[in-house]
Each structure stands twice: as structure tokens, then as C-alpha cells.
Symmetry: C2
Subunit: 454 residues, 2 copies
């Protein structure tokens, strides 16, 4: 009996362990599959990423030849290590990125090396004891100044990496000079291996499946225009076409809103790139930032429109659906609606024409015509409204609607801050608040309190 | 005569050179003063930048002691160089940045060192000739895979620097093993000097005037809320207070629109930071992104409102100014206006209360009351409008106004793309365009052509 119970327990325990093990293995299996899918998607989204990975592998393997081929290794000594280091750090996804880092690294090393040697020669004059002290002072002064220069926006944008390398090399050369006998040889070897690594990176970057930041920027701008056009096409076909359920196009402009950071990075990298595939070295990359700002402004307006429509869904009769407006304003209503549809459609055409023009790199011609047609429609709407005698009220009411939307979004902010307060365990000043709440002007504090407790 | 002429010419040339020299010196002088002012402003804007620069200088000077103090130098050999290198690269402005880079560097070096040694031991088995080939294959494989992993968003966010260091160290150790005799000693020395450099950086970062990314993020969120509140306060005091000239508050929300990139960087760094000044290690940093998204949505609505008001200035009677609406709608007009003023004022109070709550880290209490009061006002406006019988029309007209604004912003985009086309010398397809232009539906092509030529 006792033995049977014990073996039963053993079996149970075994099954428990087994089920645990199976659960863990299943979870691991799911995770591996998820990771695999993610990696596959990343590769499929932009196959240039896979090529870039192989390019880095290839460059590193090539640079390793330095170590293998003995005559070359003997020429450079242990400095050959710097070539490996350079390749690992300098190779970037875009040609602009590689050029920026490579040029920065080479020139910063040159400058810092020269300054370091100068420091060494001045320090020698101070004798055995003075030398380390003077070098220390120089290192402190130069590295502090260089670090501060990184806060200057112009330096930060184009030479940030160079300044880091400057600090690094200067300290290294100035300090090594105290120990290394043949400091000139040391500096020269370092510089040549770095220059060699940079040259290799830049060549591979440019000549084997190059990825141009400029091209990406150009493409991004045209894609963003297409996204805006999609929203307006959706408005025309669905919303004003009385299909009020499908709102998938409401998402299309969202990614445009936060495109500024990507654009700025690409512009900074594109400026480093030589002329390529039709873009000259002096291509006006900065203008893309101007276009980008206008595009984001437009996306902001679309966001407001989408928010307003979503609010209407919940609180008021839908445009184009029942309940219809009163019969006496039916005609006015129809006029405004048709004008809106025309505006959306013509503006959408203008934007997608622009996107195509940018893609084809041709001067825009048709876009202005479509915008003019959209303006015609806007004028028509204004006329209809002022004939309808509601002109003045409509302007105030539009402002009112927007302020109302702002109020609603403020409520959202309150909600998310409250969630933060709860998650982070912010203290609640019950007592403090009671003295802080000012009585409401219209004496509706009762109603308000109920809202709080909702 | 000849001599006089010659000397006169000489004097003239001298004056020409002198004026040239003075112009250049003046320009240089202006540039130096400009630079000095800029540097002063950068320092004044955030004095922690100056402190950070001195901290970097101090850390580098400290690490140089390794080179000076002979017993320490003898212990580490030329590997002491890696400590200098580490400090120059790892020291960042925020504690989170330094921790992120330091931890990444240490663990990536450890992992890559171990893998490199493993590779070395496997490669030895293949004999003299096979060794370099096998090492080459390993380097190619690991560096390609590691480079690809940088495209996975989660890796990119937190471990990007670590992957770079992994590639660098792995290549270096695997390849050096072919040459350096005592590879274990070499790896060990490298790892200890790097760890030492990292420890020094982290200590100085944390204990001498620390700059916390988390604190900056917290501060940024509350400042952004204040900016939104300022806009609404401006609306209340100026626009609805009939001061229609001062529009300075129209700028206050602009910087909020593009705050996403900064916020994301700060969140990623804040996650690395230990508990500090009231923020625990598990502080819900992610929630700040949620709040940030709501804040940006609100700023977007403000942008639309500001755009609409600017348009009204140019094209239609100003709200609150002459010409007033027709006498029969005067009362309705006044009601809407007062409701708008109340909404602005209450929402502004809610937002600035939230900003204060975040600053004080107390749970928001009064904000909900103010939002409720603003909602009351919105309800009042809705009632007034529906009593005024224009309800239906107003909704359509608001949508119309927004679509009209989108049209206008599209015109802006067309303008900036045209400028790009001109600057970049895009080809104009006169012929192609002629076939592409579709005839306008309402037969107003004559008028439209005139608009183009404006």
C-alpha cells in the first residue's frame, strides 16, 4: 500500500515535470517561430538590409587578410588592428552614413594626431616631472572644449562622430607619447591603417549595391504625399460616397505626422553623398525639409478632420446619413456636400500628381490645375454659405467645434496622466486638493463631482 | 612723372590690400563674436552642459593616471590604452546614456571575447592552412548575422552599441588569436581595462552632478503641457478678449508637434537608470509615450485651429470684430463665443494643473473638474446651435472648412515642390503634361489657366 502510494506520487511528479517541460518547450518554440517571422518580415520589407549585412561581413573578412598575409602584417605591426576596428565602426547602411563616419574618422585622427604630437613636444620642454602634469592639463582642456562643441547644433549634425574620435585620438597620442618611444611611427601607422579601413568601407559601400540616403529621402517624400492623397481619395470615395463604415483610410496619414526625425537624419546623410543616379552633389536636399514641413502641416489638418468626423459619429447626425437636415436647408446641405467632395477629390489628385512628379523627377504641372479646381469648389461652398445667411455663425461654430475637440483631447491627456499617477504611485493630496478646488462659477459642482466619479 | 605715377599706383594697391584685409578681419571678428554668443547661449540654456564637458575632461585625465603610474601600467601593458578609448566613447550626457553604452560595451566584449576564443580553439583543430580560412568563415558569418540583428527594432533600441562592439571584439579576438601568442592573457587584459573604464565613467556620471534622462523626460512632459495651456490661455485672454493683434501665443505649441523623437530617446535611456530622486527602477517610463501621443494630438488640433483663424483674418469677418453678424443671430453668436471662451479657459486650467501635478508628482485631482466644466460649456454651445436650427449645416460646414484648409495646405506643398523642381533643375515635360491633363468637369478650364499664371 505504502509502496503503491509512493510510486503513484512519483508518477504524478514525473507528469508534473513533463507538463512543465512541455509548456516551456512550447513557449520557446513559439518564441523562436515569432522571432523567425519577424526576421523574415524585416528582410522582406527591405531586402537591401540582407545585402548590407553581407557587405559588412565581406568587408571585415577582407580586412582580416591584413592579419593573414604576413608581409602586410609586418609592415603595419599591431596597428593593423585599427583597420579591423575602423571597418566594424564605420560601415553604415547608407553611403552617406559610411562617408560621414569615414571622413570624420580620418580627418579627426589626422588633426588630433598632429595636435597630440605638438602637445608631446611642448611637454618635453618641461622636464621629466613637468611632462605628465602638462599633458594632463592639455588633455583636460582639449577634451572639455571638444565635448562642449558637441552641443553646438551645426557640429552635432555633421561632425559629432569626428569630435568623439578627436577626443579619443588626442588623449591616446598625447598620453602614449610619454611611454611609446617612436611616437611618430606609431601615429603614422595608426593613421594609415585607419585611412585604409575607411577607403575599403567607402569603396564597398559605393560600388557594391549602394544604398543612397538621398534616394531614400526622395522616395520618402513621394510616399508621404501618396499617403495624404490616399486619405483624401478615401474621403471622396467612402465618406462623401456614403460608405460610412469603412474608415481604413483614416490610418493612412498617421505615420506622416512623425516623419520629421527620419527626414532630418536622411538630409544630413544625403549632404555627404557624391552625385549619384541623377542627383548632383549640390542637389537642394534642404528643400525636402521645407516640403516635409508642409506635408506634416497637411497631415495635422487631416488628423483634426478625422477626429471631428469620429466625434460626429458618436454625438450628432452623420453627414450624408439620417437624420437628414430640415427640408428648408436641404439644398444648401447638398451644395456644401458636393463642394466638399470636389475639394477632396481635386486635392487628392494634386497630391498624387506631385508624388508621381517627384518620383519621375519632373517639374509639377498638373498639380496646380487640380489645386485651382479645388479652390473653385471652396469658393462655391463659401458662396453657398453666405447666401444661406449662416456665414457668420458657421465661422464661429467651426472655431467652437475645434475648441471642443481640444477639450476632448485634453480629457484624454488627463486620463493618461491619471494612469501614470496610478502606475507610478504618485501621492494623492486629498487635503491639499480640497483647498485648491475653486468653486465653479455656475454652481454646478454637484454635477461635476458626479463626472469625476464616473 | 613716371616715378610719381608708379608710387601712386603702389599706394593705391596698398590701400586696396588694406581695405581687403580690414574687411576680412571685420568679418572674422563678427564671426568670432557670433560664435562666442552662440556658445554662451548654449551654456546659459542648460549649464549642465558645461559641467558635463568638465566631467569628461576629468574622467579622461583620471584614466591617464594609468599611463603615468608605472606599477599600474606594467600590470596592464599596452592594454591600458583600452581604458582611455572606453572613456572617450562611453561618457554620455545623461546617466542613462553612459549606463547603456557602458553595460553594452562590457557585456558585448565579454560575449564576443568568449566566442572569439571558442572560434580560435575550433580553428586550431583544422591545422596551419585551414585555420585562417575557418576563422574567415566564422568572422563573415557572425558579423553578417550581428549586423542584421541591428535592424530588429528591439535590438536597435537598447543594444545597438553592444552589437557594434560585439562585431569589433569578435573579429579582433578571432583574428588576433592567429598572431598573438597568449590570447587568453590578451583578452583578459582588454576586458579588465574596459570594465575599469566603464566603472569610472559610470561612477563619475552618477556621483558628480548627475543628469538623469528620466528627470529630463518628466520635465519635458510637464513643459509640453504648459505650452499647450499657454496657447489656450492666449486664446482666452487675447482672441476671445478681442485683442486680435497679438498672436505670439500661436507659436507656443509648435515645438510640441515634433517632440516624439526626443521622447523616445529619453524613454530608452531612462529605462537603464537606477532608482533616483523619487523615480523607482520600475517607474512606468512607457506611459510617458502614451501621454506624449495625446499631447501631440492636442497640439495638432491647436495647429488646425490656428490655421483656420489665420485664414479667417484674410478672408472673412473676424470673430468678435466688425462686421458683426446680422442682428437676428447676434444672441446666438454671443452664446457660442462665451462658450468658446469658457472651454478655452477651463481646458487651459486643466492642462496647467496637470503640468503642476506632474512636476509635484501628485495624482491629478482638479484637472478632471476643469475638464468637466469645459465639457459643460461645449454642451451649452451644442444646445445653442441646435436651438438656432443651424445644427446640421454647422457640422457639414465645419468639415467643409477643414477640407478647405487641407486644400490650402496642399497649395503650399505644390509651391514647395515647384521650388525644389526649380532648384534641382527637374525636367519639365511640356508635351507629356499636355496629354496628361484631363479636362475639368465644370468646363472652367479657362479660369483655371488664369489661376496658374497668377
Amino acid at each position: 500500500m505504502e509502496v503503491e502510494k509512493e510510486s503513484c506520487e512519483k508518477v504524478n511528479r514525473f507528469y508534473l515535470w513533463l507538463s512543465c517541460f512541455i509548456t516551456i518547450m512550447n513557449k520557446l518554440h513559439t518564441m523562436v517561430i515569432m522571432l523567425f517571422k519577424k526576421v523574415k518580415k524585416i528582410g522582406e520589407d527591405d531586402p537591401r538590409r540582407i545585402l548590407h549585412s553581407f557587405k559588412v561581413g565581406l568587408t571585415l573578412t577582407l580586412v582580416c587578410i591584413f592579419y593573414y598575409v604576413t608581409p602586410l602584417f609586418d609592415g603595419f605591426g599591431s596597428s593593423a588592428m585599427w583597420a579591423v576596428l575602423t571597418v566594424a565602426v564605420v560601415m553604415e547602411f547608407t553611403v552617406g552614413g559610411t562617408l560621414c563616419k569615414g571622413v570624420n574618422r580620418t580627418f579627426a585622427t589626422l588633426l588630433a594626431g598632429a595636435l597630440g604630437l605638438g602637445t608631446h613636444h611642448i611637454a618635453i620642454l618641461c622636464g621629466e616631472k613637468g611632462e605628465p602634469i602638462l599633458i594632463g592639463i592639455f588633455v583636460f582642456f582639449f577634451s572639455s572644449a571638444a565635448t562642449f562643441s558637441r552641443f553646438i547644433p551645426e557640429v552635432k549634425k555633421r561632425y559629432d562622430y569626428g569630435v568623439t574620435i578627436f577626443i579619443l585620438t588626442f588623449s591616446l597620442v598625447a598620453v602614449s607619447s610619454y611611454r611609446v618611444e617612436d611616437i611618430i611611427e606609431f601615429s603614422h601607422q595608426r593613421l594609415s591603417t585607419i585611412a585604409l579601413g575607411v577607403a575599403l568601407c567607402i569603396s564597398i559601400s559605393i560600388f557594391i549595391f549602394p544604398v543612397w540616403a538621398g534616394g531614400d529621402l526622395h522616395h520618402l517624400t513621394s510616399t508621404n504625399l501618396d499617403k495624404l492623397a490616399n486619405f483624401l481619395h478615401g474621403m471622396r470615395d467612402k465618406y462623401f460616397g456614403e460608405d460610412l463604415v469603412d474608415r481604413s483610410y483614416f490610418q493612412s496619414y498617421k505615420s506622416v505626422l512623425n516623419s520629421k526625425a527620419t527626414e532630418e537624419v536622411l538630409v544630413n546623410l544625403a549632404k555627404w553623398e557624391p552625385g549619384h543616379s541623377g542627383f548632383g552633389f549640390w542637389h537642394p536636399w534642404k528643400q525636402y525639409l521645407v516640403i516635409g514641413a508642409s506635408i506634416r502641416h497637411c497631415a495635422c489638418l487631416m488628423d483634426s478632420l478625422a477626429t471631428f468626423i469620429t466625434t460626429l459619429d458618436k454625438s450628432a447626425p452623420l453627414i450624408g446619413s439620417n437624420p437628414r437636415p430640415k427640408p428648408d436647408s436641404e439644398e444648401l446641405y447638398g451644395k456644401i456636400r458636393s463642394a466638399c467632395a470636389d475639394m477632396s477629390s481635386e486635392t487628392a489628385k494634386a497630391l498624387s500628381d506631385l508624388a508621381n512628379d517627384i518620383k519621375a523627377r519632373s517639374a509639377p504641372a498638373t498639380a496646380r490645375l487640380h489645386v485651382a479646381a479645388a479652390e473653385e469648389a471652396a469658393e462655391r461652398m463659401k458662396m453657398a454659405l453666405s447666401n444661406g445667411a449662416e456665414g457668420g455663425i458657421v465661422h464661429v461654430a467651426t472655431i467652437g467645434s475645434l475648441v471642443g475637440e481640444i477639450t476632448k483631447s485634453a480629457k484624454e491627456i488627463v486620463g493618461s496622466v491619471e494612469e501614470l499617477a496610478q502606475l507610478a504611485g504618485f501621492k494623492s493630496h486629498e487635503a491639499v486638493n480640497r483647498t485648491m478646488v475653486k468653486p465653479l462659477a455656475d454652481g454646478e459642482s454637484q454635477h461635476t463631482t458626479i463626472t469625476v466619479n464616473e
